[in-house]
């Protein structure tokens, strides 16, 4: 009897022991990851070209370009960060040392779950009606709460254009910056992206033309 009691209690406690972590304290700021080619010498590069727009890949839209009101702001910030490090922007129809690639990714995932309300009172019988269901067993309407989670990433790359020996050569990426997280309103997303770009340059002090 004692053994059974302890066994049941143990099973109950073990099955309940995977603690749900309360992640409410986690910041909504984007995660900022940077990676660089350790063989590259950033001082060898002096000029850069920006793309005319920020590309967009989304699973809910056929758009291929991020709205310019946001894209232009992002490109402008990347430009000012590179200029602050001693690099000079040149028109993109000129040969530059570095090419800047910027792309935004947006993914929307829809979660649904259903549950059924508790039993309806009583049972049907001749002449009894439950709401507008007469003579039938009660219908249990399910409820389907829907959760929508949007995640996004902004990827910035610096591409080596200086050391191409011939057209068609593979381009080396010497710096990659991935910024990602949950998406909110458009203004929140833009601010997160801008903060992330600044942080990416802060944690990449080796990006310098001098």
């Amino acid at each position: 009897m004692k053994k059974a009691f302890f066994f049941i209690l143990t099973v109950m406690l073990f099955t309940g022991c995977f603690k749900e972590v309360n992640t409410d304290q986690l910041s909504s700021d984007f995660v900022v990851l940077t990676n660089f080619d350790s063989a590259a010498n950033f001082k060898d590069y002096k000029t850069f070209v920006l793309p005319p727009y920020v590309g967009l890949i989304s699973n809910t839209s056929s758009d291929s370009i991020l709205d310019p009101q946001y894209g232009d702001t992002i490109l402008g910030l990347i430009k000012s960060n590179l200029q602050a490090r001693g690099y000079t922007e040149i028109p993109n129809d000129h040969q530059a040392d570095l090419g800047v690639s910027v792309i935004a990714l947006k993914e929307v995932t829809i979660y649904t779950t259903g549950w059924y309300p508790g039993s309806w009172w009583g049972y049907p019988g001749g002449g009894w009606c439950y709401w507008y269901y007469c003579g039938w067993y009660p219908w249990y309407p399910p409820y389907y709460p829907t959760y929508v989670a949007q995640t996004g990433s902004l990827i910035v790359e610096l591409v080596d254009l200086k050391n191409i020996t011939k057209p068609g050569d593979k381009l080396d990426v010497i710096w990659t910056n991935w910024n990602g997280g949950a998406l909110g309103s458009s203004n929140t997303n833009l601010q997160n992206a801008l903060n992330s770009i600044n942080q990416a340059f802060v944690q990449s002090p080796y990006i310098s033309a001098q």
Binding site: V21, T23, L33, G181, Q203
Partner: protein, 199 residues
């Protein structure tokens, strides 16, 4: 006439040498303090233990122990250097361990109600590790070899009671490794407080 006291004397000696119980099952709250743990260094108050012991000699038992402990810790936003780069984020680290051990305990008789013991457990530990950051989670799990020396005492509520209090302390070492989370072995000091039922 002379033989009667001798027989009685022999019988009395046997009763004094009898084990204080035949078998016991215990359930304890298990608190663990991680040691030299780069993943989480916060004390776990979320832990429980079930152990069964069978006396094989007057002062020696063998048994099995099953525990679980959950550790979680929040790290504020900060930049971490990684090979050829850096990452800036805040995150939660979460570690869940499930040690299972075969145990041997030696008991020291200190009266009729208090039974201090020293023991050793050998077995395996299952470890589940997770990092939560923004909307993402990275997770790994693995097994490791476990060794745990321990000291403690069982205090019977009364001389004839089949119930008692268990108080213990031990050092846990498991060989679980996970390089991506900078885990090279799991060490902790644990304290148990619980109830035992004896038969």
């Amino acid at each position: 006439m002379i033989t009667i006291p001798m027989v009685l004397g022999v019988n009395a000696q046997k009763n004094h040498d009898a084990a204080f119980t035949d078998e016991m099952i215990g359930f304890s709250w298990d608190v663990n303090i991680p040691i030299s743990n780069n993943f989480t260094n916060k004390t776990s108050l979320d832990g429980f233990q079930m152990d069964y012991r069978k006396m094989i000699k007057q002062d020696l038992s063998v048994g099995v122990e099953l525990n679980w402990s959950g550790y979680d810790q929040y790290y504020p936003r900060k930049t971490y250097q990684i090979p050829s780069g850096a990452i800036t984020t805040d995150f939660y680290s979460y570690l869940y361990t499930l040690p299972i051990a075969i145990t041997v305990h030696h008991y020291f008789h200190a009266g009729s109600r208090l039974f201090p013991y020293a023991g050793l457990g050998l077995g395996a530990t299952y470890a589940d590790m997770k990092l939560y950051y923004n909307t993402y989670v990275s997770s790994e799990y693995n097994w490791g070899f476990l060794v745990r020396p321990e000291l403690g005492a069982i205090f019977k509520f009364s001389e004839n009671s089949g119930w008692g209090l268990l108080l213990g302390a031990r050092f846990n070492y498991s060989t679980n490794k996970e390089s991506s989370f900078n885990i090279d072995g799991l060490k902790s000091v644990g304290f148990q407080l619980g109830i035992v039922a004896m038969k």
